[in-house]
């Protein structure tokens, strides 16, 4: 038997129940001001992509009942005792992240562009130059996106490691500003030549919870 954790919420009045993955009932494990939302599982979780969407939908449903920091997919612990230990060990950073993310959602933005044509001969120098060029262009685009930072509480960006990879950004945006944000993305896209933007969301604030570790 293992306990799958969906996320950690502040303890509230609303009961959190209903089905989780594999129709296993959701239940709460409480420790002080925090509550972990979990379900019990015996075996493997099923085909990956389908399971991930199920997980995502469950996390979103819980987040509508109570503000919650989502857990990385598939985190399992042996029993409730281990869940309690985890809650105690991470209490302070969890409370901080719950506070930072309350009322906000995560929006994802990917910017991609055609890399410069590869030279006929790949030498160490051309390889390094291509990597540097990707970083330089990535930083330029991050600067072009600065207005999006003004519309969000926090942001993260990951520069592409290789030519052809997208620049990946995450923004923590208040629910009521999602539309403004999307409009701003469209305006930026209109004037960014040769760059494609794709914005998805709203997501639970995964990218703003990953700093909470052991």
């Amino acid at each position: 038997m293992s306990v799958l954790v969906y996320g950690i919420a502040e303890r509230g009045d609303a009961p959190i129940d209903g089905p989780g993955l594999q129709q296993q009932p959701l239940r709460s494990v409480c420790a002080g001001p925090l509550v972990a939302i979990v379900s019990d599982h015996d075996g493997p979780l099923g085909p990956a992509v389908e399971t991930m969407w199920d997980y995502e939908q469950t996390v979103e449903r819980i987040a509508q009942l109570q503000p919650m920091v989502p857990a990385r997919f598939g985190g399992v612990l042996d029993d409730d005792k281990a869940v309690l230990e985890m809650l105690d060990a991470k209490r302070e950073p969890l409370l901080v992240v719950l506070d930072q993310t309350r009322g906000a959602v995560e929006l994802a933005l990917r910017a991609s562009w055609e890399p410069a044509a590869e030279p006929d001969t790949q030498t160490g120098t051309t390889y390094i130059n291509a990597r540097l060029e990707v970083l330089r262009r990535g930083r330029e685009i991050v600067a072009e996106l600065s207005r999006l930072e003004d519309l969000s509480r926090a942001s993260r960006s990951r520069l592409p490691a290789r030519p052809g990879e997208p620049l990946r950004c995450a923004y923590l945006v208040e629910r009521e500003r999602v539309e403004d944000f999307t409009t701003a993305v469209e305006q930026i896209d209109d004037r960014l030549y040769g760059v494609d933007l794709v914005c998805t969301g709203p997501w639970p604030p995964y990218s703003f919870a990953q700093e909470v570790t052991e």
């Binding site: 996320g7 979780l45 857990a71 990385r72 399992v76 995450a170 494609d196 998805t200 990953q210």
Partner: protein, 73 residues
């Protein structure tokens, strides 16, 4: 399961492929990015059943390696 999460896509990007702007694969990349690389880390191991393998016990490093392949498509 509703997998449409696209809020905006460049017009050029919309023309690629036959799917509508809210098609799943676009959102899938961002889903994988969040569920596998974000979130509070609970434990290093996850257990999944894959379509033709009964049980795959993956650690997150392996899963992230496969995730890279998905995003580079």
């Amino acid at each position: 399961v509703s997998t449409a999460r696209t809020l905006y896509a460049s017009p050029h990007r919309r023309d690629v492929g036959s799917g509508p702007v809210t098609s799943g694969p676009v959102s899938l990349v961002d889903l994988l990015d969040r569920l596998l690389a974000g979130g509070v880390v609970i434990h290093g191991h996850i257990t999944l059943a894959a379509a033709d393998i009964d049980l795959v016990d993956l650690d997150l490093g392996i899963l992230l390696a496969s995730h890279d392949k998905v995003t580079s498509r």
